[in-house]
């Protein structure tokens, strides 16, 4: 099986069948003991938002994994992203809405402030554009992943 992966931003193909002979064991959930020749690597995986983080010897790699069938779908999703949803990265409470619907925003401009775990967290626009939808108001409780606004 061939997988297309992106590791720390660099695309690679990982051929599981042709790969360097490796002895890989999942010793605990998300923890892999991998022997390549005599080198021993313990790799600990944490799933991230859109990639996996693989920690090994204190180095942390961001790895995106796609197989050919999924890739087509993923590309489709990317192309549809002219209008971009801004989601809350965690559950919390909207303590401030910093922009009005229709406003022009720059990339990185704050849109909404969410309070969670006693911290006020400013959620910013991923791109320059216009706020075409604002889905929350001050005082509202939001869940992780809930759409806060859409920027086009």
């Amino acid at each position: 099986m061939k997988l297309e992966i992106v590791i720390d931003g660099r695309p690679r193909t990982l051929d599981l069948d042709e790969a360097t002979p490796a002895d890989a064991r999942e010793v605990e959930p998300g923890v892999y003991s991998i022997l390549i020749g005599e080198r021993s690597y313990e790799v600990k995986i944490e799933p991230g938002e859109d990639c996996y983080y693989a920690a090994v010897n204190g180095r942390r790699y961001a790895v995106q994994v796609r197989d050919p069938r999924r890739l087509a779908r993923a590309r489709g999703a990317l192309q549809a992203a002219g209008r971009q949803k801004v989601a809350s990265p965690m559950p919390g409470k909207v303590v401030r809405v910093l922009v009005a619907e229709g406003a022009e925003v720059s990339a990185g401009q704050g849109l909404v402030v969410i309070e969670a775990m006693k911290m006020q967290n400013e959620i910013r626009s991923p791109k320059a554009g216009r706020v075409v939808a604002l889905r929350v108001s001050e005082g509202a409780a939001v869940t992780g992943g809930e759409t806060l606004a859409e920027v086009e």
Partner: protein, 500 residues
Amino acid sequence: MPFRKILIANRGEIAVRVIRACREMDIPSVAVYSEVDRTALHVRMADEAVAIGPAPAFQSYLSIERILDAARTSGAEAIHPGYGFLSENAELARACEEARLAFIGPSAASMVLMGSKTAARRAMIAAGVPVVPGADGAVAGADEARGEAGRIGYPVLVKAAAGGGGKGMRVVEREADLLAALREAASEAERAFGDPSLYIEKYLVTPRHVEIQVLGDRHGRVIHLGERECSLQRRHQKVVEECPSPLVAAHPEMRREMGETAVRVARAAGYYNAGTVEFLVDRDRRFYFLEMNTRLQVEHPVTELVTGVDLVKEQIRIAAGEPLSLTQDQIDWRGAAIECRVYAEDPDNNFFPSPGKILTLDRPAGPGVRVDSGAYPGWTVPLEYDPLIAKLAVWAPTRPEAIARLERALGEYHITGIKTNLSFFRSILVSAEFREGRLDTGFIDRWMSRQAAAADGDPEQEHAAALAAALYALRSRPANGAAPPARSRWRSEGRSSLLR
């Protein structure tokens, strides 16, 4: 036994820390818990547990009435407030006095004095303690603020007169920004402490934050246990602390000088129990009184590791009226300790909080490693409270060895299900500045702006990372995902255990 029963008015790792001390002293402990904390570790570990209300802290952990009710119904003789929540609330100390409960902390009067930055400042000036140049008291309005700031000279720091922890604090570089800063800080202070009063002081550019641990008994004796270096801060919150301070280690006379000053501060406040005197240290090693924290600090373990003194047990004995068990001469400092504050937050996404269920939890162990934690596998980190879930502290004979041990321990620490800042520490530790002990409060900000993905020369290690991520992705894939390949050059046993 100093007390027949102690109630811990807190949650999380610090409640667990205090319960452990009680257990070791053979004193029954009473946990309190809000509705979302029924299965929290402090509830599991305590001898008794009292429900005190719903999740929002002001209805539970911040409710003096409910805490006192819980103490009464459980028959506790003393209350340990931990840090945060009500720990610096003089009302609780006063209410304990009235209810004939021992408050494991200083007197209400000391707390009131030190709780007001302006009053504390005046008292310290009177006691001959050096303070940062600044206004004599809270500033009454925008005009007065402008006048004071001009007199002190920019940059200035606008600070909430009540409270701490970086809330209600703004650096102002020039007069044009002063008004906006005052407005924001006052509103934040109002929300955080119920008091919008502000004052203004000189902003020291990239000072070090060095603090002194003191212990005083109720018989007028005060000693210090040396310093902690807490210069590594993000958003004015400490993230890495150590003892000794590398600066003090290089200039040993500073420990005596700052220690004696801290004891003078404590005496001037009529202080007893454990407390911490915070100083800012400028580039010429002049130190200025910043504030006194009238409670146990988050970072107390580094002092414990180096001095061998158990601060929580000392607190309990002092509150029971026992004299200090140690004299200043008996305090000695051995080796070096460093602590990391492990937060449920996402270092790859603006350090946003990351509450949720912990799936797996591997903790580091072996020589010189101490973990204080309220977390366990299967526990859900609640949304409602501080994201501090654990503290990792290490001890070694020297600072370089402690750094190496901390790196080793961080490599062994693994939490899944939520995100944590564990990877963040690792990247700080390897920086030359950190290794050389060149620390100041601007360290983390500079470090974050400099941070770029370090190229790594080990393609085999990268291959291992890619392989593990791929296997994990395949394993996690729903049933309609790809079937395992028919042939493989990997050893079959490994493969089958992975892809089943």
